[in-house]
């Protein structure tokens, strides 16, 4: 297959099913030799987080992730690429984001998934606000400079 795969991008409140998303890319095909998935979860390090509230910019979130996915499809030989990002209130342990990359050989899938996440973190219009277990607002999560640096290493 020489035509580029069409990436699937979804922005949704509800949870996703990783197995179903892998199957969506691989079902009925024998030319895929590697599937890499990345799942980002809501993490609570200090036992004080009740939930994260994920705000997003409707319209731009889809557009920006689609632009990032289109670049990944152009840079690596992929048979399939999916990115799903949740918004709304998400409790510790729940899923936030999923990237699935499928390719003939593993390196393309590994690199494309890594690239997608580095760019998603620094360019997809989402913001996390913390809600504490004591009922107080923990404030907005601050962006990390290391995330920008991680995205910068993919620049050509």
């Amino acid at each position: 297959m020489t035509a580029h795969a069409t990436p699937l991008v979804r922005i949704q409140r509800e949870d996703f099913d990783t197995e179903a998303e892998i199957s969506r890319l691989t079902r009925g095909r024998a030319d895929i030799g590697a599937v890499v998935t990345f799942t980002g979860l809501c993490r609570d390090e200090a036992g004080q987080l009740a939930a994260l509230e994920l705000e997003h910019y409707p319209g731009m979130a889809e557009a920006e992730i689609s632009r990032i996915a289109a670049e990944a499809i152009e840079r690596w030989p992929l048979q399939g690429l999916s990115a799903i990002h949740r918004f709304g209130r998400i409790a510790p342990g729940e899923n936030i984001v999923l990237v699935v990359a499928a390719s003939a050989h593993r390196q393309a899938a590994f690199e494309a998934a890594n690239f997608m996440m580095d760019y998603l973190k620094s360019r997809a219009p989402f913001w996390k606000k913390e809600h504490r277990t004591d009922g107080s607002e923990g404030g907005w999560v601050e962006a990390k400079e290391t995330d920008d640096a991680a995205a910068a290493r993919w620049r050509r």
Binding site: A63, V97, A124, W127
Partner: protein, 88 residues
């Protein structure tokens, strides 16, 4: 003044500090770039001053695409102001 008001949308702590998610404003003709817009908005009142105290940290998108602060805003349908992103 420009002929049509421009839609401005705000997210996260920029939205909270300005106190509204969006508004339509007629921008003066001398507001040509994103940087001009940030400085002009900052002078509109205390809530804008709070939100835009450090304009260099504010990220901006025009018509759903990231732009830098030197970008011209002529013809923009929607301009979004928000903090650095923390998704993923």
């Amino acid at each position: 003044m420009t002929e049509h008001p421009t839609k401005l949308v705000y997210f996260a702590w920029v939205r909270e500090r300005i106190g509204r998610p969006e508004e339509e404003l007629a921008l003066p003709a001398e507001v040509e770039t994103v940087r001009d817009l940030l400085l002009w908005l900052k002078g509109r009142g205390e809530e804008y001053e709070n939100a835009l105290q450090y304009p260099e940290v504010i990220r901006v998108a025009i018509n759903h695409e990231h732009v830098d602060h030197r970008e011209k805003i002529a013809g923009a349908r929607e301009i979004a102001l928000f903090p650095p992103m923390t998704g993923g």
